[in-house]
């Protein structure tokens, strides 16, 4: 195993990312957005990379979290920690429902089911505009306050999100290292065998969905507070697609790869959109490149680079003797 894949190395890299972003970025908003998407993408990775489930439903959970924050904060002035916790619970519940229905089918049919749910939830949000604000979304979502002062300055809210991000990332590292996470890998590898040795595989998939949904909704709530709006676009199918693209660009074999994926996408989008209005076209080319030449994503590139620098002198492993 590459030393960079070890759990503490992953966590150290995440902390490093939090510290490095303010040094290179002028916009605190963009930096915060990167951290929010980094945790959401890592949660998607739990399904795609660890369980082998390509879910188009991540936008649902993100949107649910956004609306939970929007409704709780604009109508009832509930304390932010409570709002974040209830967003996570609501996300887990929704993900359990969507997952429970979707994992009954496998492969393409599973993907189509999550896609269908994604559309369904979008139209529900669009239709019940009394609750969600419809096309306009919910305006005036306040920032959290610490010690009586609202975190209205971009970098002070960045700090708040950074603490949340490191905590969530640490939890996800723990999940993937646990006996649960290792069973997920087994299910991804060979579901039939996992069932044959006694694991109720559906229950494991469902739990992976619940955890992923909780983190995604948590991120959605943070996002609503970042931009001050709970927009309809957060529950759109496009958000699901965005999260999946970031996951694939980052590489699904490591959690930190997801942080790279989110950062890469958002920074590239930020840079390209000022250069050329049709920047999405260039992004398409990036995706094609990743799909053709970088199937392990940016993280695969990092691993290769590490091997090149630190392991060049090492002899290839000698095959163990057979007897």
């Amino acid at each position: 195993m590459n030393p960079l894949d070890k759990p503490y190395a992953q966590l150290a890299l995440a902390v490093l990312a939090v510290l490095v972003l303010p040094l290179f970025l002028k916009s605190g908003i963009l930096a915060t957005e990167i951290l929010i998407f980094a945790m959401v993408v890592a949660a998607c990775n739990l399904l795609l990379g660890y369980t082998g489930l390509l879910s188009f439903g991540q936008g649902i959970f993100f949107g649910i979290g956004t609306y939970a924050a929007g409704i709780c904060l604009t109508r009832w002035q509930i304390p932010v920690p409570v709002v974040l916790a209830s967003a996570a619970v609501l996300g887990a519940a929704t993900a359990t429902l969507v997952g429970w229905l979707s994992i009954r089918r496998q492969g393409v049919y599973f993907v189509m089911l999550t896609l269908a749910f994604s559309q369904l939830f979008y139209f529900v949000a669009y239709t019940f505009s009394g609750v969600t604000g419809g096309d306009n979304g919910l305006l005036g979502v306040p920032r959290p306050s610490v010690g009586g002062t609202a975190l209205n300055a971009p970098w002070s809210y960045y700090t708040y999100v950074a603490v949340c991000f490191v905590a969530v990332f640490a939890i996800l590292v723990m999940v993937t290292q646990s006996t649960f996470g290792r069973t997920l890998l087994a299910i991804r590898e060979n579901e039939g065998r996992a069932a044959a040795i006694g694991f109720p595989t559906k229950l494991f998939k469902l739990e992976a969905f619940a955890i992923s949904g909780a983190v995604t909704a948590f991120g959605g709530a943070l996002h609503a507070m970042l931009i001050g709006v709970a927009p309809l676009s957060n529950i759109e199918y496009h958000t699901s697609e965005l999260i999946l693209i970031m996951t694939i660009i980052g590489g699904s074999s490591s959690l930190f790869g997801s942080v790279l994926g989110a950062g890469f996408y958002l920074l590239l989008a930020d840079a390209l959109s000022t250069v050329w209005p049709r920047w999405l076209l260039l992004l398409g080319l990036v995706l094609v490149t990743v799909a053709l030449f970088l199937q392990r994503g940016l993280w695969g590139l990092v691993e290769r680079g590490y091997d090149l620098v630190f392991r060049r002198e090492r002899a290839p492993e000698t095959p163990a003797e057979e007897h």
């Binding site: 006996t179 044959a196 040795i197 006694g198 739990e207």
Partner: protein, 255 residues
């Protein structure tokens, strides 16, 4: 407790309109080595699928130690004490050999594994079982290699080990020697005979040398039905078996 570990009565399996198995009555004695033989297409593997719960029985009943398990799911049956190996090797190819066995040992207590905060290494028992199986199968030198990188013989041994790691009462082995070299076959024969001491072994095999040597009981199947059953010598000399169904397939000598 009765003397019968696993029993079926009138077991039938249908795939659509095709009757794969019909009216199979089996009685597997505790701590015996019981083999199933028969020409290709006799639906021996389907019988295993039905016994382990991968395929639902369409008629009849299955009892484990007198308890009706006909409607029990496959993972529940593992907890009740049935484990199997597959005819076509079915491992976790990108996980280490030891991890494959640890998972198989953990499969007996899967609810523990649902806790996302519990470390895999905390289950010392599963690790100990994995190491014990590695030792017994002489796979120690390759225990950290990925299962997909092992030689065919090693993979076949690991396949049997996956069933052993569940510590089952009844162990079902589906052609454990398929594709093995001569030396490996001899080792596998010893292993199956040994397994019969601690477990009840039911195995499908084409190698008559093994079947005739180590079985306590042989069941001959043909086209999804039981044809003849009895001790090896009796089955081997059964004129009906020889003439009509197996021809000169039975060549192995009783040592």
């Amino acid at each position: 407790m009765t003397d019968i570990a696993l029993q079926t009565r009138g077991l039938g399996v249908k795939y659509g309109n095709f009757h794969a198995l019909a009216e199979v009555d089996l009685q597997i004695r505790r701590n015996s080595v019981h083999s199933i033989i028969g020409p290709n297409g006799a639906c021996k593997t389907t019988l295993f699928h039905a016994l382990t719960g991968r395929v639902r029985a369409s008629s009849g009943r299955i009892e484990l130690d007198g308890r009706d398990i006909t409607d029990t799911s496959d993972d529940d049956r593992v907890r009740l004490g049935i484990a199997r190996s597959f005819q076509v090797t079915s491992l976790f190819p990108n996980l280490a050999l030891r991890e494959n066995l640890r998972l198989a040992a953990q499969g007996r207590t899967p609810w523990q594994a649902l806790a996302p905060w519990r470390r895999a290494e905390a289950n010392a028992e599963a690790l100990a079982i994995a190491d014990e199986v590695i030792e017994r199968l002489a796979l120690a030198p390759v225990s950290n290699r990925l299962a997909g990188e092992l030689s065919h013989g090693q993979q076949r041994r690991l396949e049997v080990g996956m069933a052993m790691a569940a510590r089952p009462r009844v162990i079902l082995l589906d052609e454990p020697t398929s594709g093995m070299g001569i030396d490996d076959i001899e080792a596998m024969k010893q292993l199956i005979r040994d397994l019969g001491r601690d477990h009840t072994v039911l195995f499908i095999e084409h190698n008559m040398g093994i079947v005739m040597n180590i079985s306590d009981m042989v069941t001959v199947m043909r086209l999804g039905r039981k044809l003849v059953e009895g001790p090896p010598a009796q089955v081997r000399d059964d004129p009906e078996v020889q003439r009509a169904y197996l021809g000169n397939m039975i060549t192995g000598d009783i040592a």
